[in-house]
């Protein structure tokens, strides 16, 4: 029995033990609220072996790494330190023991949720010496807000009080004993960047430091100094710009005006999207207009950064403009801007003129050929305020041109520009002492602020990722850009693994073992797995056998991940946050610790493993007679690659049971596929390529080839689809409100219009998009006998017109939108890869509950909870796909370079390509062999027919050729390197039918 007590609250001290405050409700009423507060004396101070408190984790005598405190110290930072210097605190070099007050945690929570979650992650990770002290609940440190005191001042006072208490607490618990040496008493240092607060602390005799002055006293100052955010303006001379006070931007309106304006409809709120081709242009999609609001020029974009939630004011309709179709590159336009004196008026004027020209150019062209219909004009406006900044750390290069001294030994602090890898972001100015060493590296930079007087946002250096174009740096920068969480799993997460580690085995069968409860023993079945070569996380295995009644029993066995990943523990939350395993060309970012993914949950051959099985009885025509699900124990008999399985199946001399069962599975799969195709499933194509790596260590790419599809690929796929559909039906039946499902919405008809038109005009083919079945049929008709790759090309283009599939919670959308368009299935989920997808883990839990194996965790009964998880999983899934693609692109680039210089001399790579798009001054081509897309640009103007999708070129030799969409051309591909940014660019030019190198 737990100890139940009644807490006593002294009524005489009601001022301290009760809080009375006024609050405005959502409806605008002001109400008085009274809350209790129970003060206690058992809140632990957190220091090891404390005489009075138990359960501490901070070292007994602090650490003596600070030169002013040889007797040891602890650090107690205030709220602003966490709000502005989080990077510093998170740095592995920062090792001071931290005492974090409850007051601070709560203030951070109120000010910024992302920072709060970072702080929480830091506290729970266990990597640092951190103790959270609940000062508001300890009677000696509780503080009541006084009259005329702002909440901020109250919090500062409470932080000071807690610091003072700590210092006396240490003294009291370590008294001087006669005959013993004087005890060493470490100091608790208050760290705050608020000068007024420091002043008050000094008056009260509390040791305190600003972040900078504290860091300066540390032995590893050099490692940490660059991580300091630029906010502590008290200590640092401002960038020279501000002293000149040239205001470049207009001030934001106060928050209340913004909120009222948005409510009243005069202002509009939305996410800011920068234009990736023109840095002086951005747009904000708002619900009030069908087209996004256009923002032209620096002033109108008013310091917004990609992803910020902004408020825009729309100009009267007479001032509406159309977006430019010009490429304006900030690197070239602003090449000469000096990071140190961006307030220079002369130079400003120069830049302004340059930018005005860049903006005007497109405009003039339009008036000349003023055929542009007014329908192209878009609502135009300016940003008047920012609701929420969405700044994060960005991967950047240092702009070599902005360095004042490139001497590698120079340690002087200089202002430099960091150019983000993403073209959507502005250049960031940062001050650093290590600029020369950072040159040519990929670095991580965060934005701290963007002043009215500064053309560029100011940021600080977080850390270096490594040399640009080195695989490690590119890999990491890719993960950061796509926000893939890739840190190693923390201790708390690894503690959730079975304590036996990799020696864990399925316990011997007995009725008492919990692992055997309600589990079927399928160890004798002839189960095998078929996967790509080198696959380590085998999450599915199959079997099939004839039944005496002539039917066939087929089973899909999925790793029982939910046996190890229990709901609501740190490992589960981490997996939910990661959402999916991310596959890069030579790396894999696991969703689950690898002990599970590649060992305990991997259905390796000849080992007993726990599984979750779906078993069907099928007629020889592949009609389902009966479906059942069960938790099981299996022992896979073999792990094949697709190729091995294929060879085994096709080998007429082999006639063992395993081969027979593969043949049986294959015959069923063929029928299942036929049935699916008949129902209208699409056979889609996406450009998938495979990168050959030189060897495991150097992993230099040698070559790229397209992925091959075998019969056995489709065998596995069919059974996985069958399992997913069966499971989806079952969990939807059992949990109609919260089942985790996956759907693919039918694409709107308008998406196909362009493709239909091109096909009609160029090839005289029609595309029927009335249903997925009709589309599948008409795609089959799109065949060019002379061009076998043509059909694939059309499929790729059709796929791009479609929407992407998504996870959803069955209770949150109407039932008629459950369908999966691509698979032509009325219901679908993901069940078969719980090692690498979190949605599958949820589906496993729901299925286990549906068959009565265990009860469902309460969180999976909450629609809202499931929705939040799935929103995150969907986002992670998208990001993972993009990261994977970007990784392939990077390697294709490397492979091209390797191929180009194979024989020691630079040779051009020539490949066949299809034209997929025609522009006024270029053609878009797709190189199917490499799976890349590129644009061939022409400098001169040519005859362009937008209606017929053709462009006529005249080569320098006078030869004329007309190029149309779907034409096959030969292009030469090379990798160019941008001098300033070290960014590799794929450049293409036409070789045939005309050579366009000079055009």
């Amino acid at each position: 029995m737990v100890d139940i007590t009644i807490r006593k609250r002294p009524y005489a001290d009601a001022v301290v033990t009760q809080r009375k405050f006024l609050k405005k409700t959502a409806r605008g009423k002001v109400v008085k609220i009274l809350r209790e507060r129970y003060l206690r004396d058992d809140v632990a101070c957190g220091i090891e072996n404390c005489r009075e408190c138990d359960g501490g984790s901070l070292p007994f005598s602090g650490v003596a790494s600070h030169k002013d405190y040889p007797q040891g110290h602890f650090l107690l930072p205030d709220t602003n330190v966490f709000l502005h210097q989080m990077d510093l605190i998170e740095s592995p070099h920062f090792t001071s023991p931290l005492i974090i007050l409850q007051t601070v945690v709560e203030e951070v929570r109120h000010r910024s949720l992302p920072l709060h979650s970072r702080l929480k992650a830091l506290i729970t990770s266990g990597d640092k010496k951190i103790w959270t002290f609940y000062n508001e609940f300890r009677s000696q440190t509780a503080v009541v807000r006084e009259d005329e005191e702002s909440p901020n001042d109250r919090n500062d006072r409470s932080i000071r009080k807690a610091t003072a208490w700590y210092n006396t607490h240490l003294e009291l618990t370590r008294p001087v004993r006669r005959g013993q040496p004087k005890p060493v008493i470490p100091t608790i240092i208050l760290m705050t960047d608020d000068a007024a607060n420091r002043q008050k602390a000094k008056e009260e005799g509390i040791p305190c430091h600003s972040t900078r002055s504290y860091i300066e006293g540390l032995s590893n100052f050099d490692d940490l100094s660059d991580l300091l955010a630029a906010t502590d303006s008290n200590d640092l001379p401002e960038a020279t710009a501000s002293s000149r006070n040239v205001t470049l931007y207009s001030d934001y309106l106060p928050m209340s005006t913004l909120v009222a304006g948005v409510k009243g409809g005069q202002l509009h709120q939305g996410h800011f999207n920068a234009n990736q081709y023109n840095y002086l242009e951005g747009s904000v999609p708002v619900p009030a207009f069908s087209k996004p609001v256009l923002l032209l020029g620096r002033e109108n974009m008013n310091r917004a950064v990609q992803g910020d939630v902004v408020v825009v004011e729309v100009f009267p309709e007479t001032e509406w403009k159309a977006p430019t179709d010009e490429v304006v590159d900030q690197d070239s336009t602003l090449k000469n801007d000096d990071p140190d004196n961006s307030g220079d008026e002369e130079e400003d004027a120069e830049i302004d003129a340059e930018e005005a020209k860049a903006l005007g150019r497109g405009r003039q062209e339009k008036t000349q050929s003023s055929v542009k219909p007014s329908s192209e004009r878009q609502p135009t406006g300016r940003i008047v305020g920012i609701i929420k900044r969405n700044w994060r750390a960005y991967v950047c290069h240092i702009d070599g041109g902005s360095l004042s001294s490139t001497l590698s030994t120079s340690l002087s602090q200089q202002s430099v520009f960091a150019i983000p890898v993403s073209r959507l972001l502005p250049r960031i100015r940062l001050r650093t002492r290590q600029a020369p060493t950072l040159l040519g590296q990929k670095i991580l930079v965060t934005i701290d602020r963007w002043d009215l007087t500064s053309r560029y946002p100011e940021g600080h250096f977080v850390r270096a990722l490594g040399r640009a174009e080195s695989k490690e740096a590119e890999q990491e920068s890719l993960l950061l850009e796509y926000e893939v969480p890739y840190r190693p799993f923390g201790k708390a997460i690894l503690d959730c693994l079975p304590p036996e580690g990799d020696s864990w085995v399925v316990p011997p069968k007995s009725s008492t073992s919990p692992d055997w409860q309600n589990r079927e023993d399928l160890r004798d079945l002839l189960i095998c797995s078929i996967d790509p070569p080198g696959c380590q996380d085998i999450d599915d295995a199959l079997h099939a056998r004839m039944l005496p009644n002539g039917n066939i029993e087929a089973g899909v066995h999925i790793a029982d991940v939910s046996r190890f990943v229990l709901p609501d523990n740190p490992m589960d939350s981490e997996a939910a946050a990661r959402g999916t395993t991310v596959y890069l060309v030579d790396n894999r970012i696991d969703m689950l610790p690898s002990l599970l993914g590649t060992n305990l949950c991997s259905l390796r051959p000849h080992v007993e493993r726990l599984a979750f099985s779906a078993i069907w009885e099928l007629t020889p025509e592949a009609k389902i007679v009966q479906t059942r699900f069960t938790k099981s124990v299996i022992a896979s008999k073999a792990a094949f690659t697709y190729e091995e399985a294929q060879i085994r199946k096709d080998d007429p001399h082999r006639d063992d049971d395993l081969t027979k069962s593969i043949r049986l599975l294959n015959s069923l799969a063929l029928k299942l596929k036929a049935a699916r195709m008949a129902a209208g499933a699409l056979n889609l194509a996406s450009p998938e390529v495979k990168i050959h790596l030189d060897s495991a260590e150097s992993s230099d790419p040698i070559d790229v080839e397209q992925k091959e599809m075998r019969e056995t690929n489709s065998l596995v796929e069919e059974f996985m689809l069958l399992a997913n559909i069966s499971v989806a039906q079952k969990i939807q039946e059992s949990f109609p409100q919260t089942a985790v499902l996956r759907r693919h919405l039918p694409p709107p008809r308008t998406n196909f219009e362009k493709l239909q038109d091109i096909l009609q005009k160029r090839r005289g083919m029609t595309l029927d998009v009335s249903s997925s079945g009709a589309l599948a049929d008409s795609l089959d008709q799109c065949v060019d006998p002379n061009e076998p790759a043509f059909n694939t090309l059309v499929r790729i283009m059709a796929t791009r017109c479609m929407l992407s599939a998504e996870y959803f919670c069955s209770g949150s959308v109407s039932k008629d939108t459950f369908g999966h368009y691509g698979l032509a299935s009325p219901i679908y989920t993901h069940f078969t890869s719980p090692i690498r997808r979190y949605a599958d883990v949820l589906a496993h839990r729901q299925l286990a509950a549906a068959i009565g194996y265990q009860s469902l965790h309460p969180s999976l009964h909450s629609k809202q909870h499931v929705e939040t998880i799935l929103t995150n999983v969907n986002r992670r899934h998208r990001m993972a796909q993009m990261a994977g693609r970007a990784s392939v692109e990077f390697y294709v680039g490397l492979a091209l370079k390797a191929r180009g210089t194979r024989d020691g001399k630079a040779t051009e790579v020539q490949e066949e390509a299809f034209v997929i798009k025609v522009f006024r001054n270029g053609v878009g081509v797709f190189v199917s062999k490499l799976g890349i897309e590129g644009v061939v640009m022409f400098k001169n103007d040519h005859k362009f027919d937008p209606d017929a999708y053709t462009i006529s070129l005249t080569s320098s030799a006078g030869k004329e050729a007309t190029i149309a969409v779907f034409d096959r051309v030969t292009v030469s591909i090379s990798v160019e390197k941008d001098k300033n940014t070290q960014r590799g660019k794929v450049a293409m030019s036409l070789i045939s039918p005309v050579n366009t190198t000079g055009l």
């Binding site: 737990v2 139940i4 209790e36 129970y38 609940y134 469902l856 309460p858 009964h861």
Partner: protein, 255 residues
């Protein structure tokens, strides 16, 4: 959760500084109120309820009298100033009637009504302040008012609310916690361990239910003990001020 208040933080503290199994301060005042036969004002934290008991007395309406036992009549009045948003509730409000009915049903099996045939016992419940756990406070106050009125009861009835935050049960919820968590109110007779009332108006997972019931029952015993002490202290004071208090006349411990 939209709210920025953490129900149970990582340190194991609730928003008011209590831990999971800690009850709020209980304040019991048994001073007689006017002409009432027994009265008790009980506070659980900031929830305060005053109960006056009249009777057993002649039923106001003949028709209500029962020939073999007493009729119990419960009326609940919620003071408009009891919540932060002032709202007037009618006496005929369905919720209030239901609330009164559940108090009556809690006490019907506990009061030895057969000792008072053809009479009526009136219980007037006035809710003065609300901060979660209103029903538990009403029931505990009613028990004490009945005891001070000298009405024969089988035992004390002690009520406690119990909620669950994810998988950790919490006792004696405040208003913030009640609006956020599934919770139940349980009234027990500690001596026999019988449960006279369980109410739950929120959805709760069945797996959590048993643990909460057990915990609330244990907590009921703690509350009952606190009530006993209050009654004993008051009785001792009374005896003393009546001049009869000597060492020998000290009340014998019940158990």
């Amino acid at each position: 959760m939209g709210s920025r208040v953490e129900i149970l933080n990582d340190g194991g503290y609730r928003s008011d500084g209590r831990r999971q199994y800690e009850l709020r301060d209980i304040l019991i005042d048994l001073t007689p109120q006017g002409s009432a036969d027994g009265s008790a004002q009980v506070s659980h934290g900031l929830t305060t309820v005053l109960v006056n008991v009249f009777g057993p007395r002649e039923p106001r309406l003949r028709s209500q009298s029962l020939h073999d036992r007493a009729n119990i009549n419960v009326e609940v009045l919620i003071a408009p100033f009891s919540t932060s948003e002032h709202r007037k509730r009618n006496r005929g409000d369905k919720r209030i009637l239901e609330f009164a009915a559940s108090i009556r049903e809690t006490f019907e099996p506990v009061i030895l009504t057969n000792l008072y045939p053809r009479s009526q016992i009136d219980i007037y419940v006035q809710i003065l302040q609300q901060d979660g756990g209103v029903l538990q406070t009403c029931i505990n106050a009613t028990t004490l008012a009945l005891v001070t009125a000298g009405i024969a009861v089988k035992d004390y009835v002690a009520a406690v609310t119990c909620g669950v935050h994810s998988t950790s049960p919490l006792l004696d919820l405040t208003n913030i916690e009640e609006s956020d968590l599934p919770h139940l109110t349980l009234a027990t007779i500690p001596r026999t361990g019988k449960v006279t009332l369980v109410t739950m108006e929120t959805r709760l997972h069945i797996d959590r239910f048993e643990a909460m019931m057990r915990l609330a029952k244990d907590a009921g015993a703690v509350v009952a003990q606190e009530m006993k002490v209050a009654v004993k202290t008051r009785t001792e004071d009374l005896v003393k001020s009546m001049g009869g208090a000597t060492e020998g006349a000290k009340l014998t411990e019940e158990e």
